[in-house]
């Protein structure tokens, strides 16, 4: 299972795979693999053996992929997203802060179609780029009204995570 995990300013691609029947997992954070055995302690706690090192953590699920994790007396907020949801968030202009907003492809994929041209006015909810990733086609919509600036991609183009797709002014 591929995930995007955010903690503080940090954002990582995480791949979780179950190993065998028990609570054994391989969890890759970026390029580093952790072998983890996870077991529930009652209903509130989890014992994580990470390469043999014991950690007792509590995980509270606040819904929509938001979690609070308490470990070592510290509470940390973690957001877990499906990569496509991450992509969608960007397309939806979540990162908008005024000025032209550059929307990037979070994960590698292939551009299926470009639905607008430079200089087009777009309305909220209007599709801009269709990207295929993880065997799904995903329409990147504009969350707000605006003018499409530069379009960096064309149909059939393969993109890497972080590649710019288009600008929205």
């Amino acid at each position: 299972m591929e995930l995007v995990v955010r903690i503080g300013e940090r954002e990582e691609r995480v791949v979780v795979e179950r190993r065998g029947d028990g609570g054994h997992f391989s969890v890759r954070i970026g390029s580093v693999e952790h072998l983890v055995e996870s077991a529930a302690v009652g209903t509130a706690l989890r014992s994580l053996l990470v390469g043999g090192r014991q950690h007792e953590v509590a995980v509270y699920a606040d819904g929509d992929g938001h979690y609070r994790v308490t470990a070592n007396g510290e509470i940390q907020s973690v957001e877990v997203l499906d990569p496509l949801a991450r992509l969608a968030q960007q397309g939806a202009g979540r990162d908008a802060a005024g000025g032209p907003q550059r929307v990037t492809a979070y994960m590698p994929g292939r551009v299926v179609s470009v639905l607008v041209a430079e200089g087009d006015e777009v309305q909220p909810g209007q599709g801009v780029v269709v990207l295929e990733a993880m065997k799904m086609q995903n329409e990147i919509q504009s969350e707000r009204a605006g003018t499409v600036g530069r379009v960096f991609v064309h149909p059939g183009q393969a993109v890497d995570g972080g590649d710019p797709l288009f600008e929205l002014a």
């Binding site: 995930l3 989890r46 994580l48 950690h55 953590v57 992929g65 973690v78 599709g127």
Partner: protein
């Protein structure tokens, strides 16, 4: 045969102290009855008591502070005595008198002793008469600068000039030496005039960076009072004690003897009986000054019990039954070292906001040298109505370093989930060089907190801690997704995170 046998005690309190008293009662074969307010129906003392009676709704004044109702209940259920615990009615001389008038033994001092210690003016006069050192100075207004100068010389610098009509820091001036006196005197007077319409000021010695050191005393009904030595209570937040230890890291046995004698004189001066505590300021130069007497059992009494071997609640009951204090209580030297942490349901990193809620998981520290006096249990609810103290974690060791190591170990064992507690602050303190060395005074913790110090041990945002949180959240997410996938139909309650799903439906391939 005790002069006044006690067979049943009504505890006019709640939380951990009600549990503490119940334990002593059970050890003595005395029946224990408690009262509870509505939100406390399932509190730990109710579950552990022999008898429990509803006293009223949540607000204290309609429940735990209803003195007349408590006395009436005691008579109705045949309780010979009332134990007031600390807080609530414990230092209310009217309540003590109400008990006496109703023929119910108040487990504490006589109402007259409570009243004498409760009045600041009366208390100060009596202490001076008894030769107990008080902060030098005088309440009498100073007529002019010359008189002020003479008096300041007499008590020694630094001094504090205070408005006689004052309060809230207005008209208060600290004066480091005589060169600054004239200006401070004029400024304090004009400020007092402006603030209170009265320019009268008086002088007090200013005690710089004092420690809070208190002496536990025990008195019987026949005039005998003994000292059970000191407790160091300088770790305070906004004048509330947070951590206490015994003995004090800075009190020598000679100073212990002198402070003990002063405390015994103070208690004797008001005809004190039962357990009580004389609080002192201890200056860096070793001089100490009486502050006030707490005429009740203290929250921090367990550390004295750990280093003296005296069970103070048992002793309270014996005194109340008319037993004289035995010679074994005299001249006890502390054995080893004990330190107590008050575990509060507060978030130490969010301005100590209370954190009520259900305790989803609770594991107390255990093992050698550990004592937990708690008032809560796993699955129980911490409400907003009362003091947020959950428990006192007390660690004993053969010396201070040993006790601190045990405390650090115990704090690792402790786990409370569902609510936030002050545990991470204590972990940080147990790694702090000044705390570990005993280098602090009553303002130390507030200064450190104001500076943003004492954050959780591992620097927030450290890669290793972040990785652990990422692993935990990712695995939790994985398991939740797979549980959902296995369920026949997902509930519609899940809010869609998709903002760009236009074409994804139905286009899924292979």
């Amino acid at each position: 045969m005790p002069a006044r046998p006690i067979r049943k005690v009504l505890i006019a309190n709640r939380g951990e102290i009600a549990v503490r008293v119940l334990r002593a009662l059970r050890e003595m074969g005395i029946r224990g009855a408690v009262v509870y307010s509505d939100p406390d129906r399932l509190s730990l003392p109710v579950l552990l008591a022999d008898e429990a009676y509803r006293i009223g709704p949540a607000p204290s004044r309609e429940s735990y502070l209803r003195g007349d109702e408590l006395v009436r209940l005691a008579r109705e259920i045949g309780a010979d005595a009332i134990h007031p615990g600390y807080g609530f009615l414990s230092e209310n001389e009217k309540f003590a008198a109400l008990c006496r008038d109703a023929g119910v033994t108040f487990i504490g001092p006589r109402p007259e002793a409570i009243a004498a210690m409760g009045s600041k003016v009366e208390c100060r006069r009596r202490m001076i008469d008894a030769g107990v050192p008080v902060v030098p100075g005088g309440r009498d207004p100073l007529p002019d600068l010359e008189a002020t100068k003479a008096f300041a010389r007499q008590i020694g610098y630094p001094v504090m000039i205070k408005a006689a009509a004052g309060g809230g820091g207005k008209g208060m001036r600290m004066v480091p030496g005589e060169a600054d006196l004239a200006a401070a005197f004029r400024a304090a007077r004009s400020e007092a005039q402006a603030s209170f319409g009265d320019d009268a000021v008086y002088l007090e010695k200013y005690i710089e960076n004092p420690r809070h050191v208190e002496i536990q005393v025990l008195g019987d009904l026949y005039g005998k009072v003994v000292s059970l030595n000191e407790r160091e209570c300088s770790i305070q937040r906004r004048h509330q004690k947070v951590i206490e230890e015994a003995p004090s890291p800075v009190v020598t046995s000679e100073l212990r003897r002198r402070m003990g004698e002063a405390a015994v004189r103070a208690a004797s001066a008001v005809g004190y009986s039962n357990a009580g505590t004389c609080e002192f300021l201890l200056a860096p130069d070793g001089e100490f000054y009486f502050l006030e007497m707490n005429t009740r059992l203290q929250v921090e009494h367990p550390i004295t019990e750990q280093v003296t071997g005296v069970d103070l609640v048992l002793a309270q009951l014996r005194v109340a039954m008319g037993e004289p204090l035995g010679p074994e209580l005299e001249g006890i030297e502390p054995r080893g070292h004990a330190i107590e942490f008050r575990l509060y349901a507060e978030d130490p990193y969010q301005k100590f906001q209370p954190s009520p809620g259900r305790i989803r998981f609770l594991r107390w520290p255990q093992g050698p040298g550990v004592r937990v006096d708690g008032g809560v249990y796993e699955g129980g609810e911490v409400t907003v109505h009362y003091d947020p103290m959950l428990a006192k974690l007390i660690f004993w060791g053969s010396d201070r370093a040993h006790a601190l190591r045990r405390a650090a170990r115990g704090m690792e064992e402790l786990r409370v989930e569902g609510i936030r507690t002050t545990q991470p602050l204590y972990k940080a303190l147990l790694a702090d060089p000044d705390f570990l060395a005993g280098r602090f005074d009553i303002g130390w913790l507030d200064r450190r907190l104001a500076a943003g110090d004492l954050r959780p041990g591992k620097a927030a945002g450290s890669a290793a801690d972040d990785d652990l949180a990422v692993l935990a959240a990712a695995i939790e997410h994985y398991e939740r997704s797979h549980r959902r996938a296995a369920a026949p139909i997902a509930h519609g309650a899940r809010r869609a995170v998709w903002r760009a799903t236009g074409r994804s439906e139905g286009l899924r391939r292979g």
